[in-house]
């Protein structure tokens, strides 16, 4: 079994191909729709836009309960509306679930605090995009320093540290001593040494497989970061599924719908 904590779809073609390949490879997809209207999302999506995306996430998840975990999309720029949106989604979904925060504002902005307190209450892992671009980050884009501060401020929230900061050396260092930060390997080129660096600094128990599927990555380029890494098979198992399984298991929801994946992939 593999759990992909970071995947996206935005149109029928991506949904069809992604689910077919996920089933073929025994991958449970934590899916988030960033744009239900099939193009790049706006800088500051409105609550209505967010809700439309979550409707599509809900439809994909409810129609594919054997391989999809929904990650509800929230733009913390609208804190009150997003808390209401989250409560509505959590109430309507009885399986494993999580949250994906949009990059409208930084994760350590106080406006995210109310949302993150709800996540702690409902034991929801939070996927937070992070980046450290030498060419300059986008406005509101969370960097590894911001992520570290957020993790320390909300110790009861398990965070998927999106892209591990992109520059893995920044991400790995920023996560040191913050046990609720789980390094997501998804996104970015399959850079040799990426996973070994994360394991060395954070430990294999705090690294998780994510693909950043369709944004614009593929399964195999990101799985190569695990299969190609000079780490033990036990460490690879932790990254591919055991760590994410442990995080979602805190929600006390049965895993039975994923039994096919738990028994192993078709190939």
């Amino acid at each position: 079994m593999i759990i992909d904590v970071h995947s996206h779809v935005k149109n029928d073609h991506e949904i069809t191909v992604s689910l077919r390949k996920a089933r073929r490879h025994g991958i449970i997809l934590c899916i988030n729709v960033l744009n239900a209207f099939d193009n790049y999302p706006p800088t500051l999506p409105t609550p209505e836009f967010i809700s439309a995306c979550n409707d599509l996430t809900f439809n994909v998840a409810s129609g594919n309960t054997d391989c999809v975990i929904p990650m509800w999309y929230l733009n913390p720029y609208h804190p009150q509306e997003m808390q209401a949106e989250l409560l509505r989604r959590v109430k309507a979904w009885d399986g494993h679930q999580g949250v994906k925060l949009w990059t409208g504002i930084k994760a350590n902005d106080p406006r995210t605090d109310g949302i993150l307190r709800l996540c702690a209450e409902h034991k929801l892992p939070v996927l937070q995009h992070t980046y450290m671009a030498v060419t300059g980050n986008m406005p509101g884009e969370t960097n590894p320093f911001d992520m570290r501060e957020t993790g320390l401020r909300h110790p009861d929230v398990p965070f998927f540290f999106g892209h591990s900061g992109s520059d893995m050396e920044y991400g790995a260092k920023a996560a040191q001593g913050v046990p609720n930060l789980f390094m997501d390997i998804g996104g970015g080129d399959a850079t040799n040494g990426y996973t070994e660096t994360l394991v060395e600094h954070a430990g294999a128990g705090r690294v998780v497989y994510g693909s950043d599927l369709n944004a614009p990555r593929s399964f195999m380029s990101q799985l190569a970061k695990v299969y190609g890494a000079a780490i033990s098979d036990e460490e690879k198992d932790l990254i591919l599924w055991r760590n994410a399984y442990g995080i979602f298991s805190r929600q006390n929801v049965a895993w039975s719908q994923f039994d096919r994946h738990r028994e192993g992939a078709a190939d």
Partner: protein
């Protein structure tokens, strides 16, 4: 299986797995890669290309059945013609590696009309040594060399603070390719969007090939490229040791394409292009 795009050597900014010849050969064995086309990675930064080329020649001489050299020439340096002559005469050079961005030359002809939009202006600093770049490609044509045109080594957003090197633009690549339609180009490290863009704008020349080392999405990337470009113009390449070589290998092996298309990409195209 033949890896059409890899390197041997160190990188200034971090330790690399499989940087040394023995480590690369062990990795090739583990992945069932029979032969690899290699350049000296240090030549990305060295000013004297012959230091790296000489080392590369020594290494491939020890493993002629496994390693195929692609020697690097920087036509922005004085007397680069002498470097090329030595590689041709003494090393039997058949494959030329160029790094137009790191080596600060462009493939563009001086008189070429182009649209200078905001994104391109950032690269204007590289449009300095056009004449020498053209002269190098003319030599490549005269000597029937395969040109490995490397667009980038890694994501420029992760570069060192003081060494920010933008990738070669697809416009530069297209105009170089179109100026020399008789030269066999292997465009290395293009992303999915780069490859489809170059292919569309380069008049679908028969002499144009792409390695898939940096084709890492979307979910059906290889399938889409086979449909748009054709498997006969796509080659398995790893960009090792910068990238995990498993990325390209797994991407092709698990693609939903025919066995024939996989065979073309994994070996047949490289055998033909490099006359192996």
């Amino acid at each position: 299986m033949i890896d059409a795009n890899a390197y041997i050597g160190e990188w200034p900014f971090r330790r690399l797995n499989h940087a040394a010849p023995d480590a690369l050969l062990r990795k090739m064995d583990a992945l069932d890669i029979e032969k690899t086309v290699v350049s000296r990675l240090e030549n990305v930064f060295y000013k004297d290309m012959m230091v790296g080329n000489r080392e590369l020649h020594r290494i491939v001489q020890a493993h002629p059945d496994r390693l195929v050299p692609a020697y690097t020439i920087n036509s922005a340096m004085p007397c680069w013609e002498q470097d090329l002559k030595r590689c041709l005469d003494e090393y039997g050079m058949r494959n030329l590696r160029i790094h137009p961005n790191y080596h600060q030359f462009t493939l563009l002809e001086p008189h070429t009309t182009r649209v200078m939009d905001a994104s391109l202006e950032a690269y204007a600093q590289y449009h300095l040594l056009t004449r020498n770049a053209l002269a190098l490609l003319e030599r490549a044509q005269a000597d029937d060399l395969v040109v490995l045109l490397t667009l980038a080594l890694e994501d420029s957003r992760w570069h060192h603070w003081h060494v920010k090197v933008p990738p070669v633009t697809t416009t530069d690549a297209v105009e170089g390719i179109c100026t020399f339609p008789d030269v066999r180009f292997l465009v290395c490290t293009g992303r999915y969007a780069h490859i489809t863009d170059i292919w569309r704008r380069a008049y679908k020349t028969d002499n144009l090939y792409f390695d898939v080392s940096r084709v890492q999405g979307p979910v059906d990337d290889i399938e889409q490229l086979c449909a748009q470009v054709g498997a006969d113009h796509l080659l398995f390449g790893t960009n090792c040791p910068i990238f995990y070589p498993e990325s390209a290998k797994l991407s092709i092996e698990h693609a939903e394409i025919s066995d024939r298309e996989k065979e073309l990409m994994l070996s047949t195209n490289a055998q033909r292009l490099f006359a192996l």
